[in-house]
């Protein structure tokens, strides 16, 4: 009881201290806490700025919107381009002018008005049974009848898959995307759902032979950070970088924006600039097995075999714009049913 009470009082005081202190900054993130902790710790160490975080998996935009001008949020961080652009569209961000950010991040990975910045990239790749003979693979292939009953994938409503479908719409149009989704649905070995790692485990378990999942999970499983079982799962698969016909591999980003009413704007910009420094980009690559956004920073040796990424050139805001259509298509074809 006493621990809790002091915790409550502490929280009240902290809330008030946050408003007063200048050497702090408040981060609202949809990114799972453990993934960004090493980055934040390193930032605090090198700058002396303390970072208070709240992980808001869903409802980040709603909360900031409702908090209004009194919001303590300084930096808003998401793991999906759609959510990032959504923040901008709702007017919850402010433009930032920073030479460091502009120099580090390629133009297609940041907003031209400076409202959002990508911080890391992940590719949507193919996990396949290691005994399968596959030299190349396209996303279009997923819908081919030869894969009937052999495909595992998470929910068609998950932001990662919504972004993939949205990319498909940008490439081939909405009608073709619908046909494609119907084809993929017909090929499913089990109900769409679970997580990306389940694809590897289900391939090992003989439930399916191929599936789509994010690139960095390969690194996480191989690294042993998830425990010895996951090292076994990943041994059962090989990774192929699929492409769109006439395009490249679909990528999504994690990114951040400075909140419109940020009380600590300077620190917020400082954090963003830190996150694209060589040092932080290296942490992204080595701790999270993501692709750095900054050209020249190497990926982790653990995923060296999938390092040759030919990222699809489609404009990210274009993909974000098709997100709603993509989600509705998934519902229209009953992808998850």
């Amino acid at each position: 009881m006493r621990v809790g009470l002091s915790g409550l009082i502490g929280a009240v005081l902290a809330a008030q201290a946050v408003a007063a202190s200048a050497q702090e900054l408040n981060l609202y993130t949809t990114r799972e806490p453990n993934l960004i902790e090493p980055l934040l710790a390193s930032f605090s160490e090198s700058t002396g700025v303390k970072v208070n975080t709240i992980f808001l998996k869903d409802g980040l935009a709603e909360r900031v919107e409702q908090e209004g001008e009194a919001s303590p949020a300084d930096v808003l961080m998401t793991v999906d381009i759609g959510n990032l652009v959504d923040l901008v569209d709702r007017g919850l961000t402010q433009p930032v002018e920073s030479e460091a950010l502009a120099a580090a991040i390629p133009e297609n990975l940041r907003d031209k008005d400076g409202n959002w910045f990508a911080l890391s990239q992940r590719a949507r790749v193919l996990y396949a049974d290691k005994d399968l003979d596959l030299a190349s693979f396209t996303y279009e292939d997923l819908a081919k009848p030869e894969w009937q009953g052999k495909v595992c994938i998470r929910s068609g409503q998950h932001p990662y898959n919504v972004a993939l479908t949205a990319s498909y719409i940008v490439h081939h149009g909405e009608e073709a995307a619908k046909t494609w989704l119907e084809g993929v649905k017909a090929n499913l070995a089990r109900t769409a759902g679970g997580g990306d790692r389940d694809v590897a485990r289900d391939i090992m378990g003989g439930i399916c032979e191929i599936g789509i999942a994010n690139s960095y999970y390969v690194g996480l499983m191989r690294s042993g950070a998830g425990g010895p079982e996951q090292e076994e799962w990943v041994k059962a698969i090989k990774v192929v970088l699929p492409t769109f016909e006439g395009g490249g591999t679909q990528v999504n980003v994690s990114g951040a924006a400075v909140a419109k009413h940020a009380p600590n704007k300077d620190q917020a910009v400082q954090l963003l600039e830190y996150l694209v420094s060589d040092e932080a980009q290296k942490i992204y690559a080595e701790a999270n097995f993501e692709y750095p956004v900054k050209p020249g920073v190497a990926v982790s040796p653990v995923i060296e075999d999938i390092a040759d990424l030919n990222a699809d050139g489609t404009d990210l805001t274009e993909i974000a714009r098709q997100r709603k259509a993509a989600s509705e298509l998934a519902e229209a074809v009953g992808f998850d049913n």
Partner: protein, 522 residues
């Protein structure tokens, strides 16, 4: 008011939706979601009603090996949140997991490609899991009914020559029907509000649809519209519960039940019937969690933060429980002392929060709380010249509000059930002796309904510990509870990291179950 505000906010959100949206929902989302919800509710309802009634009858009316242990052990599944059960079973029953591995070894198969069981990620799997975890909602009221009230009627049945089975079918079941209805309605509300397990097992209920409409399309109006449509189903459940309660007439001073001693295969059959739900609803997932947590502990050690998270969880749950009970007393007391349309309606409305899925309630609460916060901040700035920031959201008071709004129904329902056992004649006597309504309430009602208070309090406490969506959305900065920790790890796909937090949630859940068991034994 407390509970009504977020629902009003939802209504406002719903109005902002575009008409085209509703057409899409009606043609693509609602038919499937409604069908899946109905199938799920029918399936879960059947399992919880059967399992809950049969086990309650056996424990209350019969004697067989292990009866005393099952008396409380049958409550244990209450301690395990449905999402944890789902995670645990997926791991246990996966083709590469221990169970299927053992079966293959036994049958002489080398790889899962040669032999595997059907996938747990399916509607039948979801029904079975939810049923196994939620049946105590039926077991608890039905057992209380058998134990306290049914003695003379059952005795009469037996005097007239009915055997155990016949007494059960002809006397016990009709007698228990109202209590079964109450328990089943509660269990079904839990099932319908469940998002973790259903989503995880690939079942797309209305709640899951609300969620994905909101999250994946940033379409709050659409989500609010489905949510309001869902309220209709839930109100039907609430009415079912009310009807059940209305018919429940307690005869004070009834004889306690004399138990029938079962012998031979019947006795062991009874043991088996009681053992199965305990084994599958509690023991298997708990045993799995202990193993997973131990493996994790050896692999990565114990995070010091976990203690802090456990403290946060327990403190906020306890505080919310206290507030909910006090409010529940006030609401039910008012309805009893001054029966009128206003107080009746208030009592009924206070149960709304339980009917709205947690996610949606949280979304409805956010604007309400944020508005209050902005007003406080502006007033303080004007009066004192200091901005306190967002007081409610920043301090965690918002969380208490959310918990109370969500679980007040358990308090009012439980206390009402307790009070209904107090004959009105007792009120009249007390009034005749010159007591004021308030005094009658304090001196007669509260003491008599103490067991009901304890039972409801414990249910609320456990529910607060398990609560996820509102906690995620409304908590202050740098604040984690066990469930948000668990969710963070699960969202990342690293369930194994969450095993320790999950085990603590279950352990916290067990303590109230123990107390609950003691309360009902008396």
């Amino acid at each position: 008011m407390l509970v009504l505000l977020p629902v009003l906010a939802l209504g406002l959100f719903a109005l902002r939706g575009s008409p085209g949206l509703w057409a899409h929902l009606v043609s693509n989302v609602l038919p499937v979601a409604a069908r899946q919800t109905v199938i799920l509710l029918l399936g879960v309802g059947f399992i919880v009603a059967t399992l809950g009634t049969v086990t309650a009858w056996l424990v209350a009316a019969c004697d067989f090996p292990g009866r005393r242990i099952f008396g409380w052990a049958l409550l244990l599944p209450l301690a395990v949140p449905t999402y944890i059960v789902a995670y645990a079973y997926l791991d246990l029953l996966h083709p590469v997991g221990p169970v299927q591995g053992a079966i293959r070894g036994w049958l002489g198969y080398a790889s899962p490609r040669e032999f595997r069981l059907p996938d747990i990620r399916s509607m039948p799997g979801c029904i079975l899991l939810l049923g196994l975890v939620l049946y105590p909602y039926v077991y608890l009221p039905v057992r209380a009914l058998f134990a306290m009230q049914a003695g003379n009627l059952l005795d009469a049945g037996r005097t007239l020559g009915a055997g155990p089975v016949a007494t059960f079918l002809r006397v016990a079941i009709p007698l228990a029907r109202p209590a079964v209805a109450i328990g089943t309605a509660l269990a079904l509300m839990e099932a319908m509000n469940d998002i973790g397990a259903a989503e995880f097992l690939g079942v797309r209920t209305l709640t899951v649809s609300v969620y994905s409409t909101w999250i994946n399309r940033s379409d709050l109006p659409g989500a609010a519209q489905i949510a309001l449509a869902m309220l209709a189903i839930t109100m039907a459940l609430v009415m079912l519960e009310r009807r059940g309660r209305k018919r429940q007439r307690y005869a004070a001073g009834a004889q306690p039940l004399r138990r029938m001693r079962l012998r031979g295969w019947r006795a062991w059959g009874a043991t088996l019937v009681c053992a199965l739900p305990v084994a599958f609803g509690f023991a298997a997932p708990a045993w799995y969690l202990v193993g997973a947590a131990w493996a994790r502990y050896r692999f990565a050690g114990l995070s010091p933060r976990i203690l802090e998270e456990a403290g946060n969880t327990a403190f906020f749950a306890a505080l919310a429980t206290l507030v909910a009970l006090l409010l529940g007393l006030v609401v039910t007391g008012a309805a009893r002392m001054r029966p009128g349309r206003l107080t009746q309606t208030m009592a009924r409305l206070s149960t709304l929060g339980y009917a709205v899925p947690g996610t949606i309630l949280a979304i409805g609460l956010l604007p309400v709380i944020a508005l209050a916060d902005r007003q406080i901040a502006a007033a303080s700035q004007a009066l004192l010249g200091v901005g306190p920031g967002l007081l409610l959201l920043g301090s965690g008071a918002a969380l208490i509000y959310a918990y109370v709004a969500r679980f007040l129904a358990i308090a009012t329902g439980g206390i009402e059930a307790g009070l209904s056992r107090v004959p009105r004649s007792l009120d009249h006597v007390a009034r005749t002796l010159g007591r004021s309504p308030g005094q009658v309430f304090r001196e007669v009602h509260v003491p008599i309904s103490r067991p009901a208070l304890a039972a409801s309090g414990l249910l609320i406490f456990v529910d607060c510990v398990k609560e996820l969506p509102a906690t995620l959305l409304l908590r202050p900065l740098n604040f984690e509870t066990l469930s948000t920790h668990l969710y963070g790890e699960a969202a990342r796909g690293t369930y194994e990291d969450a095993a320790i937090a999950a085990l603590i949630i279950v352990a916290i859940g067990i303590l109230p179950v123990m107390v609950l068991a003691r309360t009902i034994r008396r």
